[in-house]
């Protein structure tokens, strides 16, 4: 099981802030994860429609989409940040 967490409009569109899911063996990178999640329902598909704007953090650190996710305890998906 991998913990997924969502923020801002990603969270709103998916309809939840976090979940634990079993990932198929062929999901090995952040990009694979996005593609997989988009098959899980309309909310996911809408949230992740524009994959290039989605930011990914593994274990609370920013990563690129091609980063391997093996061993990740927590993967976060969120829009570009607008703090400050």
């Amino acid at each position: 099981m991998t913990r997924l967490v969502y923020f801002a409009w990603v969270r709103e569109r998916i309809g939840k802030g976090e979940e634990d899911i079993d990932l198929p063996a062929d999901v090995t990178t952040g990009a694979d994860l996005l593609a997989h999640l988009k098959t899980l329902g309309d909310g996911y598909a809408h949230a992740l429609e524009h994959e290039n704007v989605i930011r990914i953090a593994i274990n609370q650190e920013h990563v690129e989409h091609d980063e391997p996710i093996a061993g990740a305890r927590e993967i976060a998906l969120f829009p570009p940040m607008t703090g400050g």
Partner: protein, 157 residues
């Protein structure tokens, strides 16, 4: 200075407002080697009266960790004597404070650069998001990231 204590690094994410004077006093409590203190306060604008509130969301844990990483980088790069970065979350109305950054250094240019550097990186890499609520009762949606914030980083590279 040999034997000097490490520069204080104060990082907090909180719902409550902050007190600039109190945070500044904490930051320079260690001695009188600071010749310059620059503080940046980011406030919620009323957008010409259209905005009623901002709602700030963050990624607990990562937000604090990212801000601390940025602050430590600033201490090293500009030889700061201390740095504080405090970011509020929750509902914030026009005129209220959102974020505070304070940099202390022996001389003014390091203090200005330190505070400016932390703000530029905080804007683009600390996981916070803002949602607008308008005075007419409508939900304005999530604030979009600005290209100008990415461009601002170029001066530090």
């Amino acid at each position: 200075m040999a034997g000097a204590a490490p520069a204080p690094v104060i990082v907090r994410v909180q719902r409550d407002d902050f007190d600039v004077a109190a945070e500044t006093a904490r930051l320079v409590a260690g001695g009188a080697s600071a010749g310059a203190i620059v503080s940046f306060t980011g406030l919620c604008r009323d957008e010409g009266g259209r905005l009623s509130a901002l709602e700030l969301e963050h990624y607990p844990g990562m937000a604090e960790a990212e801000i601390e990483r940025i602050c430590l980088a600033a201490v090293t790069r500009f030889s700061l004597l201390g740095i504080a970065a405090i970011h509020r979350v929750g509902r914030i109305t026009p005129g209220q404070n959102i974020v505070l950054v304070i940099a202390a250094a022996p001389h003014r240019h390091a203090a200005f650069d330190g505070a400016s550097f932390v703000m530029d990186y905080l804007k683009t890499s600390a996981p916070f998001w803002k949602k607008e609520h308008f005075a007419d009762g409508s939900e304005g949606g999530w604030v979009e990231a600005k290209d100008s914030d990415d461009t601002a980083l170029e001066k530090w590279s």
